[in-house]
């Protein structure tokens, strides 16, 4: 049985988290949560596929089909940055082990750390990077609020925060400060922009509700 994509998007975080948390270890759990439904996991187990050498992947990035030739071990992050032509460098490589959130992208609308996803596992999913959310000329509400509230300094964590918050506000258009903090607790900033990131998120929520 294969679950439909819509079913996967159901708001049933408690149940899904419980099911998916089982058997998936450590830092990857939160991410894997978004990636693997139990049905998919069973499917994979039933028909294991071994990839080696160099494989062609076709990724749906910001609404465009993009081809790349990568080793199967290549992460989605490194594929976007190092193998697509032209490169997609909005998502940043900061820790490469799923601890900082700077590489966050949306897979079918859900935020994941793209350093913990293999490119070969991201085919047939809609990948949205920070570039796909808006442009300098036409920013989305979160991007505009980040600029307005000075929610960035060096800006290296910014794509991750913007992506995470943009996805969260779709799920919860009217969050409290505590909910915003909870939503982006998987993202680190070193310059110290947090208070203004929170302000920007709340302002973006307010703006898009108005």
């Amino acid at each position: 049985m294969t679950k439909s994509r819509d079913a996967r998007d159901d708001h049933d975080p408690g149940r899904r988290r419980f099911l998916k948390g089982v058997g998936i270890a450590g830092a990857g759990a939160a991410i894997a949560d978004h990636l693997w439904t139990e049905a998919e996991a069973e499917e994979k187990e039933a028909t294991p596929e071994t990839l080696s050498g160099s494989v062609k992947v076709t990724l749906d990035v910001n609404g465009q089909k993009r081809d790349a030739q990568v080793e199967p071990r290549t992460t989605l992050l490194n594929t976007l940055r190092n193998h697509l032509e032209p490169a997609v460098t909005g998502p940043k490589l900061v820790c490469d082990v799923g601890t900082c959130g700077a590489c966050t992208v949306l897979l079918d609308g859900k935020p994941v750390y793209s350093c913990l996803v293999l490119a070969v596992d991201a085919t047939n999913k809609k990948i949205t990077t920070v570039e796909g959310l808006g442009t300098p000329e036409k920013p989305n509400a979160v991007q505009a609020a980040f600029v307005e509230h000075d929610a960035l300094m060096c800006g290296f964590c910014t794509p991750g925060f913007v992506t995470t918050i943009s996805a969260y506000l779709k799920k919860n258009p009217n969050p409290s400060l505590a909910e915003v903090k909870e939503a982006c607790k998987g993202n680190f900033c070193r310059c110290g922009t947090y208070p203004r990131v929170f302000e920007a998120a709340l302002a973006a929520a307010k703006g898009s509700n108005a």
């Binding site: 830092a27 080793e71 071990r73 290549t74 490194n78 940055r81 190092n82 490169a87 460098t89 909005g90 998502p91 940043k92 490589l93 900061v94 820790c95 490469d96 082990v97 601890t99 900082c100 700077a102 990077t129 920070v130 570039e131 959310l133 808006g134 442009t135 300098p136 000329e137 920013p139 979160v142 991007q143 505009a144 980040f146 600029v147 307005e148 000075d150 960035l152 300094m153 060096c154 800006g155 290296f156 964590c157 910014t158 794509p159 913007v162 903090k181 909870e182 982006c184 607790k185 993202n187 680190f188 070193r190 310059c191 110290g192 922009t193 947090y194 208070p195 203004r196 990131v197 929170f198």
Partner: protein, 745 residues
């Protein structure tokens, strides 16, 4: 031919002043000559139209949409990816480096040895690999076989100080005397007049810069006569000379660019070992090479703040006057000398005596980190001051006012007390009921923040009305780009959008490296000077259209150029310019900047005395800094200072394994950075009572006092005086179980 005597212009009167210059992130004082009367000033701080207002960053939209291109984002045709092999031993000699198997891996293009044969810290580079993908470069690292002769090491300061400890550097003792200050006998005698004495040992762990963009560069050399270096650096002009030597090119054949950079905090100056390796790989392969450190690399050798071990003893009279201080500081800089400001730091402590030592361990050298040496000194002295106040039962705010000469601190302390709600504070340490105990603390800080005469700025106004300001400086995320534009825009009566800037390129006008809060006070006077000159040049050109006023009578405001009751739109005015437009050149002016800042921090925390968990509730930082160039970005910097201090106070610290000699927490999973969930309410306050019409750098100032304020708040909450950062739950619980345990003195 006989020379005709020519009328010489009268030379402008000059004066000599001393200014800070930053070398590798550390300030040194040098003498420079400046004009005595250099031209118009900034004017009163409350009379600006753009500066001292809030305006958004010009690169904000690029950064928020992922368009901003950082060094890490550069990808050139055919570019190779480099990685560095690191030594797992704290002290070892490389006896054999076998790269045969690694070189056979398809995609591996070059392997070069690092210049060291004897390494003195775990994580030192042994070799570097260039390959077609970073994944293959990683394979090559695993395939290199290194044979080491492992030598004895010592990584903990209290072991390194023992006479029998292994020597960190063969020729030297681990303990190096660096200086003495004051009269030991006099200080000794002064203790006899004291009513109470506090003695303690204060320790700060080494903390890491953890710039989110790691150190590194892309060296674009393809075998020709020129090269371009894309660098994540705090100094556009600190790289091309050394890079040219490595590449065998002339200095002017190498261009450095730094368009956007992902944080530095004092750690990114010069070519660095990684840059040298990248140059060598690029030279050997005649191919562009990108060498960005991994996060592990970044922890083990890309920088840390010097640790400190401070033995302090102070005496106080019952009236609250501190009369004596004896201090011994060990600077814990690993292989380096470390850094620390001198005690008694800002306070007047009567007769003082200080001994300074460097204590070496087998760790990478500490390097400059935002306010080098100051948070360490401030933490210890502010803890000591708090202990003295507690001992004679005096309010810590009043006690500080009594022992601080500079009245700026008095007003800042009173304001801070009001902002945090000091009157609600329980004066009895640990006196609040229940397991969740609240407490408040405070501390003060200082910094120089003056500039120097290194920045050369050009402003060009074109006949199409566009305005360009160009200088090679770099924007670390501090808002340099934005205020550079704003200064020109304000001078010409335009908006920020009407001006473009070009920065971050070593072919543009020289600029100082960004360290020690010297960028704004070095750059903004040169920008202002160029802008004033551009305004005057343009005024001369448009004067005939406005009834021939004197150039200084022409008013540039609101996008109009006016004089004698007549007004031109900007477009009408620029039509009077020559085809090539006009370009002015700006130089530094000492009178447009100043030196010497004050800041205070107040913190409130809640400590769970059952678990030792500290929850920061609120922090207030009040900072003066002359003329705020941009209130929005200045407040962001103050927030950043508070948050980085919060990390140092409560969570961050390198942990070394004594036996392995390695760092145990070289990653974000184990090295705890401040995150979203820990954020308290933060209140950044610009001290507008500072009326100096001068630009002063504030970045360092706002990272200094918060550590002391937080630790003092923990004491007020719990009655436990933790004298070692980070103040983790284990230390608090230990103190609650046995209050004497943590009193190392």
């Amino acid at each position: 031919m006989q020379q005709q005597p020519q009328a010489q212009p009268t030379p402008k009167p000059k004066k000599k002043i001393r200014v800070p210059k930053v070398v590798n992130g550390v300030e040194q004082m040098v003498e420079v000559e400046v004009d005595e009367d250099a031209g118009p000033g900034w004017g009163p701080n409350d009379k600006h139209t753009l500066l001292n207002h809030r305006y958004t960053r010009v690169d904000g939209p690029l950064k928020a949409t992922g368009v901003a291109r950082y060094t890490y984002d550069q990808r050139l045709p055919g570019m190779l990816y480099a990685r560095v092999l690191r030594c797992p031993h704290a002290h070892a000699r490389v006896t054999k480096l076998d790269t045969d198997a690694a070189l056979k891996i398809p995609g591996v293009k070059a392997i070069i040895p690092a210049p060291l044969t004897e390494v003195r810290f775990a994580g030192a580079p042994i070799a570097a690999v260039a390959a077609t993908t970073p994944e293959i470069a990683g394979d090559a690292l695993r395939a290199i076989k290194v044979t080491y002769e492992v030598l004895p090491h010592v990584v903990h300061a209290h072991h390194a100080i023992r006479p029998e400890a292994p020597k960190v550097v063969a020729e030297e003792n681990n303990l190096q005397e660096k200086g003495k200050n004051g009269d030991p006998q006099k200080a000794d005698a002064a203790f006899s007049t004291a009513d109470a004495v506090v003695e303690g040992e204060y320790i700060t762990a080494r903390v890491h810069h953890t710039c989110l963009e790691t150190h590194g560069m892309v060296v674009d050399y393809r075998g020709g006569d020129t090269a371009t270096i894309y660098a994540s650096t705090q100094g556009t002009f600190t790289i091309h000379e050394d890079a040219a030597k490595e590449l065998g090119l002339t200095t002017s054949a190498v261009t450095t660019t730094v368009e956007h950079m992902g944080g530095g905090f004092g750690s990114k100056f010069g070519l660095g070992l990684e840059g040298m390796l990248a140059c060598r790989l690029s030279k050997q392969t005649k191919t562009p090479v990108k060498l960005m450190l991994t996060r592990y690399d970044e922890f083990v050798m890309a920088g840390n703040r010097s640790g400190s071990w401070q033995k302090l003893k102070a005496g106080v009279k019952n009236d609250g006057k501190i009369v004596a201080l004896q201090a011994r500081q060990y600077r814990l800089g690993g292989l380096g000398g470390g850094s620390q400001a001198g005690q008694p730091y800002i306070y007047s402590m009567g007769d003082t005596y200080r001994e300074v030592y460097a204590l070496h361990t087998n760790e990478d050298s500490s390097i400059a980190m935002r306010a080098p040496g100051h948070p360490q000194a401030s933490f210890a002295v502010e803890s000591l001051v708090d202990e003295l106040a507690w001992k004679i039962k005096m309010d810590p705010v009043e006690f500080r006012i009594k022992n601080l000469r500079d009245e700026v601190y008095h007003r800042q302390l009173r304001r801070g007390a009001q902002e945090i709600g000091w009157s609600k504070r329980n004066p009895v340490a640990g006196g609040n009921a229940g397991p969740l105990k609240r407490g408040m603390g405070c501390a003060v800080g200082t910094w120089g923040g003056g500039g120097n005469n290194q920045c050369k700025v050009d402003v060009t106004i074109s006949r199409d009305g566009s305005v360009l300001v160009a200088v090679g400086t770099q924007d670390l995320g501090t808002g340099t780009r934005t205020y550079t534009r704003a200064i020109v825009a304000e001078e010409l009566g335009l908006t920020v959008k009407d001006v473009q800037e070009r920065i971050g390129n070593s072919k543009l006008g020289n600029a100082n490296p960004s360290g020690g809060s010297t960028t704004a006070p070095s750059l903004s006077p040169s920008v202002k000077d160029a802008a004033i000159k551009a305004r005057m040049l343009m005024a001369e050109r448009v004067a005939p259209l406005l009834g021939n006023p004197k150039p200084e009578e022409v008013v540039f405001a609101g996008g109009k150029v006016s004089a004698k009751g007549q007004s031109l739109s900007w477009q009408q005015a620029v039509a009077a310019l020559p085809a090539g437009g006009i370009t002015s050149h700006g130089e530094w002016r000492a009178d447009l900047q100043a030196r010497g800042i004050h800041g205070v921090c107040f913190a409130e925390v809640e400590v769970d005395v059952e678990t030792g968990h500290v929850k920061p509730i609120k922090m207030v930082h009040i900072q003066d800094g002359g003329l705020p160039l941009n209130r929005l970005t200045m407040e962001s910097q103050i927030n950043g200072g508070m948050i980085q201090s919060l990390g140092m106070a409560l969570w961050e610290g390198r942990v070394m394994d004594e036996h392995l000699g390695m760092q145990l927490n070289p990653g974000f999973g184990d090295y705890k950075l401040p995150g979203c969930l820990e954020m308290p309410e933060l209140v950044p306050i610009i001290d507008d009572d500072d009326k100096r019409e001068a630009v002063i750098g504030i970045a360092e100032g706002c990272i200094i006092p918060a550590v002391g304020a937080l630790v003092n708040a923990v004491f007020n909450a719990t009655g436990v005086r933790v004298r070692e950062t980070p103040v983790t739950p284990d230390k608090i619980l230990m103190g609650l179980m046995n209050p004497n345990l943590l009193s190392r003195g």
